[in-house]
């Protein structure tokens, strides 16, 4: 029972059964229709030929009388392949004709015989029971005349058609069921092998791939797609693993510092000011940790695109001007000159908060790492222009810049250049800038300002990005 139910749950099996039933019913209907049609046509032929015969005989009878009619019957009944002719008295006793014997009671009713009746021909030595249809008329002198036609041949023909059709349709149904069974079984086998591979992948075998038969059929196409999807997932997974390794490593350091501070402070006895100092240290460290976490979350939120929904047209000129204004006093205090050349009315599609944060991070970086090596007065140049429909922003300093080969790495989370490790920072600033740029479909370039760093952000034309 369980097995049967399982069998029925397979689509191929259910389809097979459904189609067999439908096909069988149609075939049966077809057989009956064809045979019924054949019978009808044959009966019509019989009727027509008997009626014609009767008409000819009655003409002879009217013109020449009964004797001529009977002799005409005699002639006709001897002709090869002749119809049946019987002349009988009112009691049904055969007086003349070419029939030796026939089913009793046939002669009693005037008119058409409704069903084929059996009879034996005069000249038939084999005494076979033959079948015929006939019409019986009453002659003016009370005698009865039967004109009939053998339907043995048509009946055989009908049987033949019925048998042929039944055989053809029966074998078609059988073949169909068999075909369905094998096709279904093959599909089932493929599905099973795919399911098997999926199980293995789910149980941790990352390198397992769905089987490909090489025939290029729809299963292969599907498997190919799924396999490339698995490759992509693996790649993303690798990236994620690397990131979480980084995070684990980079968060361990401040956590260790916190732990050590607390431990050392617990060992120190009765020293309130020392304890206080330790607590303040712990507070600062944990606040930095929270900041790092927030920055990480921010990056992943931006990367996952969950902030994309709030994108709308923004006046980038105003956004940059506001940030420059925010930083201007701080820059001046650190002996930086903020020079800005911002074309007005630059429109991009984006998120004000994130765009502000991007520019802010870049100016932060320039202030931190862009100190001029050979003069007291450093400068940061911020430009925003429209060229060929694209809005491009550049933020350039004259600091040490990024050494060749590290260009790609500085965009990674937690990556910090050797020379900047002593400065405060989390190594997440540029990673966030990169994520925000990507979210805005902007390209980020890190150029050499000779000396210094020139960060360029190229926004797509607003018509294209919408």
């Amino acid at each position: 029972m369980q097995r049967l139910r399982k069998l029925f749950s397979i689509t191929a099996v259910r389809l097979t059964i459904l189609y067999s039933l439908l096909f069988g019913a149609t075939a049966l209907g077809l057989i009956f229709y064809v045979t019924a049609g054949t019978v009808k046509i044959l009966k019509q032929q019989v009727t027509v030929s008997i009626n014609e015969e009767l008409k000819e005989l009655s003409e002879i009878y009217e013109e020449l009388g009964l004797n001529s009619t009977i002799s005409a019957l005699e002639v006709r009944s001897r002709a090869p392949g002749a119809n049946l002719y019987i002349v009988s008295n009112p009691a049904g006793q055969i007086l003349a004709g070419n029939v030796l014997d026939l089913e009793t009671g046939v002669m009693n009713k005037i008119g058409w015989t409704y069903h084929p009746f059996s009879y034996t021909r005069f000249d038939n030595s084999k005494k076979d029971e033959l079948l015929a249809l006939a019409r019986i008329v009453e002659l003016p002198n009370g005698m009865r005349l039967l004109i009939g036609r053998d339907i043995g041949e048509p009946e055989k023909f009908r049987h033949l058609i019925f048998n042929a059709l039944a055989l053809a349709l029966g074998s078609m149904v059988t073949l169909g069921v068999l075909a369905w069974f094998f096709v279904g079984r093959r599909i089932l086998k493929r599905v099973d092998s795919v399911a098997h591979s999926t199980d293995r992948i789910m149980s941790g075998d990352r390198d397992e791939r769905l089987p490909i038969s090489g025939s290029g059929d729809e299963f292969d196409r599907l498997s190919n797609r799924l396999n490339s999807m698995l490759d992509r997932i693996n790649l993303l997974d690798e990236g994620l693993k690397q990131v979480s390794d980084n995070i684990a490593h980079d968060l361990k350091t401040p956590l260790t510092r916190i732990r050590n501070t607390v431990e050392a402070s617990l060992v120190t006895r009765n020293n309130n000011s020392k304890h206080r100092e330790a607590l303040e240290n712990v507070l600062t460290e944990s606040e930095n940790l929270i900041k790092t976490f927030n920055a990480l979350l921010m990056i992943s939120q931006v990367e996952s695109g969950s902030t994309t929904a709030q994108m709308k047209q923004q006046n980038l000129s105003e956004i940059i001007k506001d940030i420059v204004e925010l930083y201007e006093p701080a820059a001046e205090e650190q002996n930086f000159e903020l020079r800005s050349d911002i074309a007005s009315g630059l429109i991009v599609n984006g998120n004000r908060e994130l765009l502000s944060q991007m520019i802010s991070n870049l100016i932060d970086n320039a202030l931190k790492y862009g100190k001029s090596v050979d003069s007291d007065q450093s400068s940061i140049r911020i430009e925003a222009t429209l060229s060929g429909g694209n809005v491009s922003v550049s933020i350039a300093d004259h600091g040490a810049g990024i050494p060749e080969g590290a260009n790609g790495k500085v965009l990674q989370r937690f990556f910090r250049l050797e020379q900047s490790r002593s400065l405060p920072g989390s190594g997440l600033g540029l990673a966030l800038v990169n994520a925000i740029a990507k979210m805005h479909f902007a390209t980020l370039t890190l150029g050499d300002n000779k000396p210094g760093l020139n960060v360029g952000i190229n926004f797509p034309s607003i018509n294209n990005s919408v």
Binding site: E287, I290, K291, N294, L297, M298, Q301, S306, T307, A309, Q310, D322, E325, L326, Y327, P329, A330, E332, E333, N351, E353, S356, Q357, S360, N361, I363, D364, L367, K368, P424, G425, G429
Partner: protein, 227 residues
Amino acid sequence: MHILIIEDDKQAAEYLVNALDEAGHNVDHAKDGELAFVMCDSSEYDVLVVDRMLPKMDGLSLLKKLRARGDMTPALILSALGQVDDKVEGLRSGGDDYLTKPYAFSELLARIEVLSKRKIVDDADTLISVCDLKLDRLSHKVFRGETKILLQPREFRLLEYLMKNAGKVVTRTMLLEQVWDYHFDPQTNVIDVHISRLRGKIDKEFEFPLLHTIRGKGYILQKDSVD
């Protein structure tokens, strides 16, 4: 100040109740939204501190229901959700301020004080004065005593915010949010320099300073020094 803390986490609630009590406030605690709704009906509070995720009735629904009832008690929403649209949603539901967990207690305290109903300055007042410092919100003119002080537009807004909340501590984050409308923390301490510029204009060359820095917390505008 009479404060109602609506927070389901027992430890967090205990910490808040103790710390606010220490700061001299009268604190009640409700552990779910429905209880808070009843408590708001029976007593008068100056500020509500609402956790966003609450059993029975969440923080935003509670605020919506309170506002629908005509209860306009200022509310500070605490939440682990920190995205900009989460904040917008929180403020739309009737919250007056939004703070993301984990937060510094000093930040929370400063925000509660600023939210309190007992505002010194009515939003409708065109003229704000603190001691001998006067600010006209219509003509955008600022005087210290008889001396006219010229301010940049942003400096004017900064001073306006500080004067509106005179006598209360305002944090750097609050200034960034309220004066500049930024919800991120710039790494460079940009606010301090803006304050010191403002201080150069309103305090320098005058008898006594009005704008004070409170180390590790923020700034306060008042006659007397705090330390």
